[in-house]
Amino acid sequence: MPKILVCYKWVLDEQDIRINPNDLSLDVSRAKGKISDFDRNAIEEAVLLVERLGGTVDALTYGTPAAKQSLKDVLSRGPNKVYWIQDPAAEKADAHVIATVLAGAIRRIGSYDLIICGEGSSDSYNQQMASRLAATLDLPAVTFTSQITSDNGTLKFTRKLDDCTEVATVSGPAVVSVLGEINHPRIPGLKQVLGASKKPSEEIKLADLGLSPQELTPRAIRKSVKGFVMSRKNVIFKDGDAAHKVAQLVASLAKEGLS
């Protein structure tokens, strides 16, 4: 009957982000918020584990005040309770700050058998959170997990790495990150959405975590963000018969020094 905590992030939907053509800056004005994609897998995996083995699932997030929109969304997906810390400075927080705040909150909330994160967030995709939390909380980290099975009460984590898979078994609590392929998050039904209102959410004040200003100072700062635009030659051959177009392409490749 594991006691599980899922850490998730409320991010801007990258599909709504536009690039301003004049200066390549990002226009996020139309971007709606969403639970980061792989965090949805993390939530689903936690809920699936508890459906199989019993236990509870709590959720935790650190974000700007906009993250309040995530609370009902998360609760409708299965967790029993959600904790959240809101802070306007979260927008500029780097992975170090986020991990520091989350770890501080976890120490305050209590101990868990399993802490699950997505393998990386859909906005910055740093792929750091689980490992950082593990180091900060002095727990083992099991990252890039593609499957979790229970063998007589012992959890076994299959990890999918660049060139191999391996199975990790942990004695005691662990921090785990999961891959998107681990499951297909179910879409909440109407009753689950309504049921979310009956579940508790608790705000934790950042000031109550006793973190120093130094600890809350980002170590990585964004100096500039520019939309990526492909600027290629765009020399497209569309006139004439196929043989003609092929000859044109071959000539161009030769000019580039390619055969």
Binding site: Y125, Q127, T169, Q248, E256
Partner: protein, 308 residues
């Protein structure tokens, strides 16, 4: 000694990281050190430019279990920068080290430089939609994707080799290590690629692309749909945001529409060419050269023309 440190559980990648390491060493005027585990000869790191090599020895060499040992070593040596090979294992190690040192970590940096007293990296945001310049305070950790840099050219050099005892992670046991069946060449190393997309009607039609690849001296790659939906090619051959990233000299897409998720995986290619019968296909915006035409007609003609 305060310096620039390098770690990768893969020695070839560690060698590649000496290249940016040497640049940093030049600018910062600090020694360059390599942390390694395993039994390979540390001397080649010295030959390639390292001033000192720390050989970590532990009871069990499971690379990620050495994260604490690496962090402690970096701390005791007052490392300013730690460059880590950006394999999945490497990213795990790097983030654990950063967590332990309460340091910043820039992931998947495609460039790293030191200017005005700060470390500057460039990396992707929003699934490749944007590029971001990050400034990190020191000490800082950076993960760099394998094959971003080439190995430095070795020379006769002298340096220090020190064996260090490390305590490995004991709370985890690893078992059932199974290599992922990789059917064929590693496309991320190929200099030329012919990439097939859903413009092909049947699996047997891929022979047209294979003939072209032979004529070009290229490897075959594909889009995600061809691998994951059609299963015409193994998933190791698909290029995309969730697949392989490639930067060959020549990328030629045949029957590839050019969706953003695919283009992100190949956009650093030197020359991009495409053949597609839909002139509106997004690939043409991402290409240097293109032919609007039927791949069934164009590919054989192209193959023949290249053979001459």
């Amino acid at each position: 000694m305060p310096g620039i440190f390098i770690f990768s559980e893969n020695n070839a990648v560690a060698m590649q990281l000496l290249t940016p390491g040497l640049e940093l060493k030049q600018v910062m005027q600090q020694p360059l050190c390599v942390i390694m585990a395993g039994s390979e000869a540390p001397e080649k790191f010295i030959a390639a430019g390292a001033d000192k090599v720390f050989v970590l020895q532990a009871e069990k060499i499971w690379p990620e279990g050495l994260a604490v040992a690496i962090a402690d070593l970096a701390a005791s040596e007052q490392a300013n920068i730690l460059l880590v090979g950006g394999s999945l294992r490497g990213k795990n190690v790097a983030a654990q080290v950063a967590g332990r040192l309460k340091a910043g970590l820039s992931s998947d940096a495609t460039s790293v430089s030191f200017a005005d007293g700060a470390l500057v990296t460039v990396r992707m945001l929003y699934a490749g939609l944007a590029l971001c310049e990050e400034i990190l305070t020191l000490p800082a950790v950076v993960t760099i994707p394998p094959r971003t840099f080439n190995e430095p050219i070795p020379s006769a050099r002298l340096g220090e080799i020190k064996v260090v005892q490390g305590v490995a992670e004991t709370r985890m046991t690893i078992s059932d290590v199974c290599p992922i069946e990789s059917e064929g060449a590693d496309i991320s190393a190929a200099q030329r690629l012919v990439t097939v997309g859903r413009g092909f009607r049947e699996k047997s039609d891929l022979a047209l692309a294979e003939d072209l690849a032979k004529a070009l001296g290229a490897e075959i790659a594909c889009t995600r749909g061809v691998a994951e939906d059609y299963h015409w090619l193994p998933i190791e051959r698909y290029i995309g945001i969730s697949g392989r990233k490639v930067k060959p000299e020549l990328y030629l897409g045949a029957g590839v529409s050019g969706q953003v998720q695919h283009v992100v995986g190949m956009r650093d290619s030197k020359v991009i060419a495409a053949v597609n019968n839909d002139e509106k296909a997004p690939i043409f915006e991402a290409a240097d050269y293109g032919i609007v035409g039927d791949i069934y007609e164009v590919l054989p003609l192209l193959t023949a023309a290249l053979k001459n």
